[in-house]
Symmetry: C2
Subunit: 169 residues, 2 copies
């Protein structure tokens, strides 16, 4: 992970949740909206900035799933979401690359949309693979769900402490 002095290539915001529900397909004339849901675990809001690479995604997955940001029961000891074990909800959030200019936000640091989508897909796939190969998450049947890149992220979150962290890569 880069120091705060370096220019980040990607930004992740992590929040603890007890449950969360995210729209992955908006309603249409023919169909109702579609949602994914997770139980206790973490929400990963993610944004790729200029300079992001597939190699960085690997590091991001390892770090975000490995960092101890989840309170375990009964004593509140901090463990990783893999050790909790808990669910993961990944929310694409290009706005995290924003910087204020006066009263407006600018997103000049953000990666191009097609590249961002590829890295996002890779991040989601690698998180899911990690969950499938990690003994605790696999045995407890924990899952990785994710939002649709480029969509409006219609979201409901219930938490007993968001315990919000910003991770720059």
């Amino acid at each position: 992970m880069s120091s705060s002095e370096a220019v980040p290539q990607a930004r992740v915001v992590v929040q603890q949740c007890l449950s969360a529900r995210l729209q992955v397909k908006p309603p249409s004339q023919e169909n109702e909206a579609e949602y994914v849901e997770v139980g206790r675990g973490i929400i990963i809001y993610i944004c790729f900035l200029k300079g992001s690479t597939e190699d960085l995604v690997e590091k991001m997955v390892r770090s975000t799933l490995g960092v101890r940001l989840s309170e375990s029961e009964p004593n509140g000891k901090l463990v990783s979401v893999l050790d909790l074990p808990g669910d993961v909800l990944i929310v694409p959030q290009a706005t995290l690359g924003g910087k204020t200019k006066g009263k407006a936000m600018q997103y000049h640091s953000n990666i191009a949309k097609t590249e961002g989508q590829e890295l996002y897909t890779k991040f989601c796939t690698m998180c899911a693979e990690t969950f499938e190969t990690s003994t605790k998450t696999k045995e407890a049947n924990k899952t990785v769900k994710h939002g649709t890149y480029g969509n409006r992220q219609v979201l409901t979150v219930v938490t007993n402490g968001p315990y919000t962290h910003v991770l720059d890569f």
Copy 2:
């Protein structure tokens, strides 16, 4: 607002919400838990770091309430929460000062707790004052609610797009 290269003295995360509910007093043997609620508006997660001052709080309030991060109806045009007009929910969130060291988080940049509490109180007070003196929020009876510093922030958020932004000061 400082550039990304400078070391921040405070960090704010802003999310849009349709509604939110925050515990401000945990349940006890005698009493049920107490909550505050807001409607459409923004959630401000806030953390003071070393070097924060009362002068900085003034700037933070002006910037956070003035920046155009709220989608207005019917056309989605971005306006400030004061112009929406919408509600504000302030959530103290010392974890925002965290930096990873291996798999653990460290909070060496965070301000001392007593100072942080003072600045937090000032931030909440100034936001409320701004709402009372701003024509649109006053006429629409919009309010500023806030969490209890140092408490566990038991929170439910409903949003049609969190539109998450990190503001460093």
